[in-house]
Structure formats: C-alpha cells, structure tokens
C-alpha cells in the first residue's frame, strides 16, 4: 500500500460528475412523466361526458416539427461552442430558443381553442383532467428549457461563455433532448393512441 498524495484519484473525472447528475435527474423526471402517461392511457375512453378527444383534438404537426428540429439546432449550438465559434453558437441557441417559443405559442393557441371554442377545461371530464396535466407538465419543462436557452444565448453573445465550458452547455442540451423525447411519447399517447 502506498500513498497517492494530494493528487485527484484517477477514477474521478469532474466532467462525469455533472453528466451523472444530469442522467440521474432525467431518470427521476422520466419516472415522473411515466406516471402521468400511465394515468392518461388508463383513462382513455373513460370520460362520462364530452367533449371527447376525437371531436376536439387536432394533430399538432407544425408544433412537433418545430420542437423536434430544435434538438438538431441545439446540437449545432454546442458543436459551434466546442469549436470556439461563439457568435455562431449564440445564434444557434437563439434559433433553438425561438423554436421552443413557437412550440409554446402553439400549445397556448391549442389550449385557447379547446377552452373557449369547445369548453374543455381541466375540470370538465377525465379527458380534460389528464390532457391538461400531461401536456401542461411537458410544457412546463419546455418553458424551463427556454429559460436555460435564453441564458445560454445571452452568455454566448456577451462572451461570458467559453469553449472549455462546453461540457456544461452539453448538459443543458441533454435536458432539451429529453424534453423532445418526452414529446414524442406524449404525441403518440395523446394525439395518436388516445384519439
């Protein structure tokens, strides 16, 4: 047995500390979403009164296209950051942010239509309860991601963000990919299976 002195042990990689933390967070988030999705699936067709999904839901294709393509643009942003091209990176973060905001506006318009035109609220029936809960939980996560992206854009354009911090920006990108992945599940469950 010998002493290793004050050197950082080989098994510790500070980059993985953040990554492991983000993975753990996403596992917990996945577990949270899973329960809401299970509740949605279980209550499909169990509403005692209308409006029913098939009468009022429209496929949010443009919305989904925006959100899914934002996964690509955020990858462009972190790649540019890694290569030290700060303005380009900030630009891609801004595009990602814009796509997220378009998605949120789309959700807001959909909810406005459902509430005003069809009288569907969270208190109307089981469909309303589960629909607003699942889509709302997801939209909350998108909103949080939009805030993080706004912060990253500002930091990138102001020069505060440096290429050696790309590992941290990557974690934000992982979160954003996760939010996109959850949307695929929500889309299939709510707009395909549940309609």
């Amino acid at each position: 047995m010998s002493s290793a002195g004050m050197t950082e042990p080989a098994s510790v990689n500070p980059v993985w500390r953040g990554r492991a933390g983000m993975i753990c967070l996403l596992v917990a988030e996945g577990s949270l979403f899973a329960i809401f999705v299970v509740a949605y699936l279980f209550y499909i067709g169990k509403s005692l009164s209308g409006p029913y999904p098939k009468d009022v839901l429209e496929l949010p294709l443009f919305n989904s296209f925006c959100l899914l393509s934002s996964s690509v643009t955020v990858a462009f942003a972190t790649r540019a950051l890694r290569r030290g091209r700060m303005r380009r990176s900030g630009g891609w973060f801004l595009v990602t942010l814009a796509l997220g905001v378009v998605f949120l506006i789309g959700t807001a318009r959909e909810w406005y239509r459902l509430i005003v035109a069809h009288g569907l609220t969270i208190a109307t029936n089981l469909f309303g309860t589960t629909f607003y809960a699942v889509v709302g939980l997801h939209a909350t996560h998108v909103s949080l991601g939009v805030l993080v992206l706004a912060l990253l854009s500002v930091l990138a354009f102001s020069g505060a963000l440096r290429p050696e911090q790309v590992e941290r920006a990557d974690l934000a990108a992982w979160y954003w990919h996760f939010v996109d992945g959850v949307w695929v599940v929500v889309f299939i469950v709510v707009y395909v299976v549940g309609r």
Partner: protein
C-alpha cells in the same frame, strides 16, 4: 497509522475557538454549512427530534387502546394521531436517519472530500426539515374553511378518493400533500447526490467491488429512490390538481378509478420499505464483521442480494392491495414476486450468520443490537411471507397482525441496526465513546419493550382486531393482549430516553475514543475522530475490501484472498 492521520483541528478544538464568538456564531456555522459531516449530523438530530414527536403520538395511541371502551382520545384525534405518527416515522424519521448516515459515512468510506454537490446537499436537508415543519404546522393552520380537522386524518397512505375535497374538507390534507411533496423533492436531490458521489468520486483503488457493503446499500437505495419517489410526487400533484382546480384524477363520480391512487402510492410505498431497510442491512454488514473479527462472509452474494431486492422489490407493490379485488391473475403474480423477494433477503441472513460462525465475537452495544436484529428481522420476514399468501392476507388484511408485521420490519430491520450504528460511529463523529453501561441498559430495555408491544400485537390481529379502530367492545379477548402491548411502551420510551441522555452526556464527557476504537477495517477509521473538514489529507491507495487491515498488517494483505 500516525503517518496518515492529520494534525487537524478536531471539532472540540474548533468549539473552543468558536466559544468567544458566542452561540449565535456557532448556530450560524451550522445553518450555512455545506459540509457532508455536519449535514449528516443535522439529519440525524432532526430524525431523533421527530422520533420523539412520533413516539409520543404512538404512546397516546397505545394508551387509548390499552383496554376496551376507553375514551381518552376522541375518534377524530385518534385518526389524526395515527396519520401523523405513520407519516412522521416514514418521511421524517426513517428517511433522514438513512440519508443522514449516508451523508456522513459515504464520502469517508470511499475516500472522497465531500458529496458531489455540497450546496444541493444543504438544500436537500433544509427542504426536508421545512417540509416536516410544514406538516406539523397543520396542527395550527389546518383548520380551513369548514372548521374540519386540524392535523391530517387520512392515514399515512392517504387513500384517494378519501382525500378528495368532498370527503376531506379543510386544509389539513393539503398540508399532508404539500409537506410530503416538498420533503420528497429534498430526498430525490440527496439521492442524486449520493449516486453521483459513489459513481464518480471514489478514491484511488476503490473499485466498485471493494466498496464497503453500506456504500453498496446506499447506492442501491439512491437508485431506487430516483425511480420510486417521483411517482409519489406525481400522484400528489394529481391530488393537488383535484383539490384545487377541480380535476378528476381520483373522482369516482366522474368515472375515475378508486384504486389508481393505491397503485401509484404503493409503487412508491413498498420499495420505500426497502429504502429504509437496506441501509439497516448495511449497518449490520459493517458492524457484524468487526465484532466477529472475521471478513464478511459472501461479500459478492450480499451485494447481489441487495441489487436483487431493489429490482424485485419494485414489482411487489400490489400485495398491499389483495383485498381490493384485483382478480386472481394479478393476485397470483404479486404473491409470487413477494415470495421471490424473500429469497435474497434470506441469503443476507446467512451472510451475517456465516460471518459470526467461528468468529471471536465481542458483544459490545453495536453488536448486541445487530445480533437482536437478526432475530427480530427474521420474524418480520416470516410474517411477511405469511401475508404474501393471498387467502391468508384476506383473513388478516388491515388487522393488527399487519401492524405488528411492519413494525417488526421497520424497527427490527432499521431501528435496531440504527441504534447499533449510533454506538458504532458516534466515536468517529465526536471523538468520544458512548457509555457501554447505559448502552446495555438501552439495549435490554428496548428489546424487552419492543417485544412486549409488537410480538404481542400479532395475537389481537389474529383474533380479528382491525387496525385504526379507536376503541373496541369488551368480551372479544383483546383486552389483555392490548394491555401487554401498551405496557411495553414505557420500556421503549425509557430506552430512547437513555440513548438521548447517553449522547448528550458523552458528547462532552465521554471517554476519548481515538481514531479507531473498534479496531475496524474501513476507510472512515483511517482519519482522525472527528474527521477534519477535508476528511483525508493523504488518501491511502485501496487494494482490498479492508484497506485498514492491509495498513495494520502489511505482512498479510487481503488482496490475494479476494
């Protein structure tokens, strides 16, 4: 040894340095701390505080049930007391005990400076504490609009639709809901912290296969927590939507299911039992080898058994629901998985027995508690298997037999080993020994009191006494059993009082412990007692599961034998 320990200021030395600055400065230090050792101590002190509160609630319950037709408590008060007792014991006693010891010991055992995210760690503790305060604030603030209730009265598993606005008016249930949502957030944060620490911050040579079993148990339960606690939070968010926004998740009038909450709750609630019990197994796995003077028997099987319990344990939740009419296929599946989870648990008992077999056993207080744990927990396991048989469960569902069973699990599995752990690691945390004499009094009074109360409690259960009734008529043959169960309470209360006195007195006046009072083998004993804020100035390179043995016996290292 001396070459490795540090000329570091001890907590005692720091206290005298702090003394002129007054108690306010000391308090400030503790409030703003992000040190895993101080947070660990704060967790454990919090848990002991809530243990006293929940213990007093249980004492009142036992007093009310001591004989037939007693009216010491009103039915409503009785409901509030068992709700607060259960909720407090699980979320504010068990969880902070477990994560407090994890906080304190994991970095020391793996040779890390601190947890991965120290400020997140402080957040986790404070939000748990404030969640606990919020829950108890319901006693004052839970009155609500309708003057209904003060503390929540819906049971610790708060079945919906009972918890819906229509059946539980007022704010009491909202306090339960919000308080646990908040403490759950803190627990998830701490679980993430421990997982990341164990996975990425182990010292040189500390491979996964050389980690102390306690660290393995904390790894298992942290992973388990990440998967099972968010579902409880999800269900609580649904309940909140129901209660505040008029949603219908658990509203049977709107076509919702009356058992969905039960599924969601028990998907959390059952693995939660393992979250509380596995660290207890970890304590036993550290203490029994040291006091048997032998290497732990079957390290690999013990670790695999823990992982097995974690995995299978997530598929057994509906055995809490045999009586709701799930139908034979589901009942059979969950009965089978319940039997299955008994197998790795049984493996562990043989690990500990095999460790003791042929050992040179020293029956000091930590070992006394761990030895008793083997017997008490075996009882819990056997009644668990009995209740896993569906028809048997139908007969005894929601009876005092079940109450006795899960108190054997949680007290026999966690609290016994935890008392052992307090005696075992107190010298490390304070530099002073707890009194062995008081320790023996604590042990014997607690064993006698615990068995008087809970071994006896099986019988009225089999005689048909349902849980949660506030009183019962004479002539059913329940009185004597209940009286004996209640007579066990003072024994346990005095035992807990003794350990608290022991801690308070020994922290200043105990015999100085030295760095390694038990002649132990894991890394935490390689640093000074109490450890300096930075834990280790020089980390030994670990080459076996007993790094300190290697250090003490360079002529006979462990590595060739593993």
């Amino acid at each position: 040894m001396d070459g490795m320990t540090l000329p570091a200021p001890t907590i005692g030395a720091r206290r005298s340095a702090d003394a002129p600055r007054g108690w306010l400065a000391v308090l400030h230090d503790w409030v703003v701390t992000v040190d895993h050792k101080r947070l660990g101590i704060l967790y454990v002190v919090t848990a002991i505080g809530f243990l006293v509160v929940a213990g007093l609630e249980a004492s009142a319950i036992r007093l009310q049930l001591a004989w037939s037709n007693l009216h010491i408590l009103s039915p409503g008060t009785f409901n509030r007391l068992f709700t607060m007792h259960g909720t407090t014991m699980v979320f504010l006693v068990g969880i902070p005990f477990v994560f407090g010891f994890g906080n304190y010991l994991v970095p020391l055992m793996i040779g890390a400076r601190d947890l991965a995210f120290p400020r997140l760690n402080a957040f986790g503790f404070w939000i748990l504490l404030f969640g606990g305060v919020l829950l108890h604030f319901s006693v004052i603030g839970g009155e609500g609009l309708y003057g209904a209730g003060s503390a929540p009265a819906v049971g610790w598993f708060a079945y919906a639709p009972l918890t819906e606005r229509a059946f539980s008016p007022g704010n009491a249930t909202d306090y339960w809901n919000l308080a646990l949502l908040v403490t759950g957030l803190g627990t998830i944060a701490t679980a993430v912290n421990l997982l990341v620490t164990i996975l990425t911050m182990r010292g040189p040579g500390m491979t996964l296969g050389r980690m102390p079993v306690f660290v393995w148990e904390m790894l298992t339960i942290s992973a388990l927590t990440l998967i099972i606690l968010p579902p409880l939070s999800a269900a609580q968010i649904m309940l909140m939507l129901d209660r505040f926004l008029g949603a219908h998740f658990f509203d049977t009038q709107a076509g919702a299911s009356a058992v969905m909450w039960q599924h969601f709750f028990w998907f959390f609630g059952h693995p939660e039992v393992y979250v509380l019990a596995l660290p207890g197994f970890g304590f036993a796995s550290e203490i029994i080898p040291v006091f048997s003077r032998k290497v732990l028997f079957g390290y690999a099987t013990l670790v695999m058994a823990s992982a097995g319990i974690g995995l299978v344990g997530m598929g057994t939740w509906a055995h809490h629901m045999f009586a709701v009419g799930m139908g034979s296929p589901l009942n059979s599946a969950f009965a089978a998985s319940t039997m299955l989870v008994g197998v790795p648990t049984g493996v562990k008992l043989f690990n500990w027995l095999g460790t003791m077999y042929g050992g040179k056993i020293r029956f000091e207080t930590p070992m006394l508690f761990c030895t008793a744990f083997l017997f008490q927990f075996l009882c819990a396991g056997l009644t668990g298997i009995m209740l896993g048989v569906v028809p048997f469960d139908w007969q005894l569902h929601d009876s005092y037999f079940v109450v006795a069973h899960f108190h054997f699990v949680l007290i026999g599995g966690l609290i016994f080993t935890l008392f052992g752990a307090i005696y075992y690691w107190f010298p490390k945390a304070t530099g002073r020994m707890l009194s062995e004499r008081l320790g023996h009094w604590h042990f014997w009074l607690f064993v006698i009191g615990f068995n008087l109360t809970f071994l006896t409690m099986h019988v009225p259960g089999m005689l048909g006494m349902a849980r949660r009734i506030y009183t019962y008529p004479a002539g059913r043959g329940w009185e004597v059993w209940n009286l004996v169960a209640t007579l066990g309470v003072p024994f346990q209360a005095i035992a807990v009082l003794i350990v608290i006195v022991n801690v308070v007195v020994s922290v200043r006046h105990g015999v100085p412990a030295g760095d390694d009072p038990w002649d132990a083998w894991t890394l935490e004993w390689a640093t000074s007692s109490p450890p300096p804020p930075y834990n280790f100035a020089v980390l030994p390179v670990v080459s076996s599961r007993r790094p300190l043995w290697d250090l003490k016996h360079p002529d006979d290292p462990d590595a060739p034998h593993e």
